[in-house]
């Protein structure tokens, strides 16, 4: 039965997925089992994304289905059900840039892969990153920026976090980011999409 839910989510059959989740809950399936099915489906979608069989619409639809199923399941969850997180990732779009679509997808994929993600939003000043690094103690920081005008704020943010004693890893991403900009900003790596960000987190923090 759980497999049918996995398949419905992975194959983007939204109505079927929601109906199945509702039916399973009504039939007494433990809420955690339903959430496990969601995670399993996301793993399938993640593999398809890496293989070039799934793209942004599928990630967005999956996110939407998961949100709806979580809302159904949440009232029946006990606190003990909170899954252990693998590690902490701080993320945000750098100062002066207000683009959020790519960053939101990365946040979602990291979250679904078991990382505790703190998202500072867009147009985040350097000082706010430094403060959040101190308070949240992330192992990894992800900086996003869509414009070429994000290059210098990225560089400044990384320098400021390093100066404040951050010793973890920094990854950057966005439309005009490449290896030359990784070198220019002093980031440890750049990722071309959300799965690349997950892969980097797995390498650095573990899975």
């Amino acid at each position: 039965m759980t497999n049918a839910l996995v398949e419905a989510i992975a194959d983007m059959r939204e109505e079927d997925a929601l109906a199945l989740a509702k039916k399973q809950l009504a039939d007494g399936t433990p809420p955690l089992e339903i959430l496990d099915a969601c995670r399993e489906a996301m793993a399938v979608i993640g593999r398809r994304f890496e293989a070039g069989d799934c793209f942004v619409p599928e990630l967005i639809m999956a996110g939407e289905m998961l949100k709806q199923i979580s809302e159904l399941v949440k009232p029946k969850l006990t606190e003990a059900a909170q899954a252990q997180k693998l590690g902490r990732v701080l993320i945000g779009t750098v100062e002066g840039d207000i683009h959020d679509i790519g960053k939101d997808i990365v946040t979602f994929m990291l979250d679904i892969n078991g990382y505790e993600v703190k998202d500072l939003g867009v147009d985040v000043p350097t000082a706010q990153f430094v403060e959040a690094v101190r308070d949240f103690q992330p192992q990894v920081v992800g900086l996003s920026g869509f414009l070429t005008l994000a290059y210098d704020p990225m560089k400044a943010t990384i320098a400021a976090m390093r100066a404040a004693g951050f010793t973890g890893q920094v990854m950057i991403g966005g439309g005009q980011i490449d290896d030359q900009i990784r070198e220019y900003t002093g980031a440890d790596a750049y990722g071309k999409d959300a799965m690349a960000a997950v892969a980097l987190a797995k390498t650095w923090i573990g899975a």
């Binding site: 619409p57 147009d123 030359q180």
Partner: protein, 449 residues
């Protein structure tokens, strides 16, 4: 303004294009300041015409699309560009004089802040109004068309824009939501009822804001025309790209539905989305024809956004993105225009689809960002003019020597048969002046055929 000849309806697309090019090359009969400027103008217009015709010009044309580089170079802020026309003019003149580009490529960064202030525009943030004064305007996506409004849009796109979209996109025009349909003017007894809403206070307020914004737009047009007229006359640079339109998928995805919503529509209501895309084709064509004709320019600039590699599968690209874009391109070509496609991101997976034999050879120009240029040459060479791909990251973080090598390599590997222009991959904002000089100088010296 391009005035079509009397026999326009009988002319085939090729002849229409020749007529548009001839009018552009005559520049409405405006004289250049010097014979040298006139010679430059003639040489540069012919050069870009040659590449569209898939010929070898005298040398590779230089066609980078300008963003806010000129402002940074001229020491003014993004806020100055949008609010202080004197400062803008000075910086714009300085860039064009110092760099001597081949064309007067309109800077996308130059837009009138006052107009957007007066309209209380919501779809973008701009310097001092949501972005720092040093950063250019940026779009903020939202669902300005709701999921259940496709039927309204499909039945009456202009009515939807006027009474649905605009009151949401421009807070100062919120009164327009109360306007009746213009069809309510078709008989004498209907006209009083039609006029009444326009007299109600919220609608009156909206029209006042509309007129104030229109006056501010005229002021901007005057400043813009004066600066560009001076550069054209002094340096002989032909204006490009002229008209503007968008791919129907981007028209609906960028500012009506937003990325998230349109991508969910692909699953939740594909039939409505497809019907809306089809409905948008004549609008996209008309927008391109109208703007290019108004500018007396054969080119129509079309930035491509949501169809790039990674955004959707090739199957979805063929189903949702390409058919309405292709129909738009064919519509523009039939009107004698040259679509100037600005292909953002990567298009490696799409090359086989876009090189569509139903689009006539020698009728379009494609500028690429992160697409493999060897593959572009293989797939598009002999069918369409192409260019682009000088990395913006290198222009900012690289060295002049690196840029020089990159430009030479592009010329060596993909420019040989003509039909090719040199351009940066994306809009030029951040760049080291010495790197941009290296790009321009190398193209001018090494790019001679």
């Amino acid at each position: 303004m391009f005035t079509p000849p009397a026999n326009w309806r009988d002319l085939p697309a090729r002849d229409r294009r020749e007529a548009r090019f001839a009018a552009w090359m005559a520049l409405d009969g405006k004289p250049m300041a010097t014979p040298a400027a006139q010679a430059t103008f003639t040489r540069h217009t012919q050069r870009v015409k040659d590449i569209i015709d898939l010929k070898k010009p005298d040398r590779v044309p230089l066609l980078p699309f300008m963003g806010s580089f000129f402002a940074i170079y001229g020491g003014i802020t993004a806020h100055d560009v949008m609010y202080d026309y004197a400062k803008y003019t000075q910086a714009w003149l300085k860039y064009n004089r110092d760099f001597q580009p081949d064309y007067l490529v309109f800077s996308g960064a130059f837009n009138p802040g006052k107009v957007f202030d007066l309209l209380d525009y919501k779809v973008y943030r701009w310097p001092g109004r949501g972005t720092p004064k040093t950063q250019p305007f940026q779009c903020v996506e939202a669902e300005y068309m709701r999921a259940d409004e496709y039927d309204w849009y499909i039945a009456d796109p202009e009515g939807f824009y006027m009474r649905g979209y605009m009151p949401r996109a421009f807070a100062a025009l919120s009164g327009w939501a109360m306007l009746p349909t213009v069809f309510a003017t078709m008989e004498l007894p209907m006209i009083p009822a039609f006029m009444i809403p326009a007299g109600l206070p919220p609608v009156v307020q909206s029209f006042k804001a509309f007129i104030a914004a229109a006056e501010a737009a005229l002021e901007y047009a005057g400043a813009s025309g004066q600066a560009d007229g001076q550069i054209m006359a002094e340096l002989g640079l032909p204006p490009l790209p002229g008209g503007f339109t968008k791919a129907p998928f981007d028209i609906i995805g960028d500012t009506l539905r937003g990325t998230r919503a349109i991508m969910m529509d692909m699953y939740r209501q594909p039939a409505k989305l497809l019907a809306a895309l089809e409905r948008t084709v004549p609008i996209a064509v008309q927008m391109g024809v109208g703007t290019a004709t108004g500018q007396n320019n054969p080119f129509v600039f079309i930035p491509l956004h949501k169809g790039a590699d990674g955004f959707m599968s090739n199957a979805d690209f063929k189903k949702f993105y390409w058919p309405s874009l292709k129909a738009t391109l064919i519509g523009l070509v039939n009107a004698g225009l040259v679509p100037y496609l600005f292909v953002e991101g990567g298009y490696n997976q799409r090359l086989d689809v876009i090189a569509d034999p139903e689009i006539p050879a020698g009728s379009t120009y494609w500028t690429f960002d992160k697409t493999d240029m060897q593959a572009v040459k293989r797939k598009l060479g002999g069918w369409a003019a192409f260019g682009g791909n000088v990395p913006n990251s290198m222009l900012h973080a690289g060295t002049p020597a690196q840029v020089t090598d990159y430009v030479k390599q592009l010329i060596d590997t993909v420019a040989g048969d003509g039909g090719y222009a040199m351009a940066a991959g994306a809009v030029v904002d951040e760049a080291k002046p010495e790197n941009l000089h290296a790009m321009f100088d190398t193209c001018k010296s090494y790019g001679v055929y």
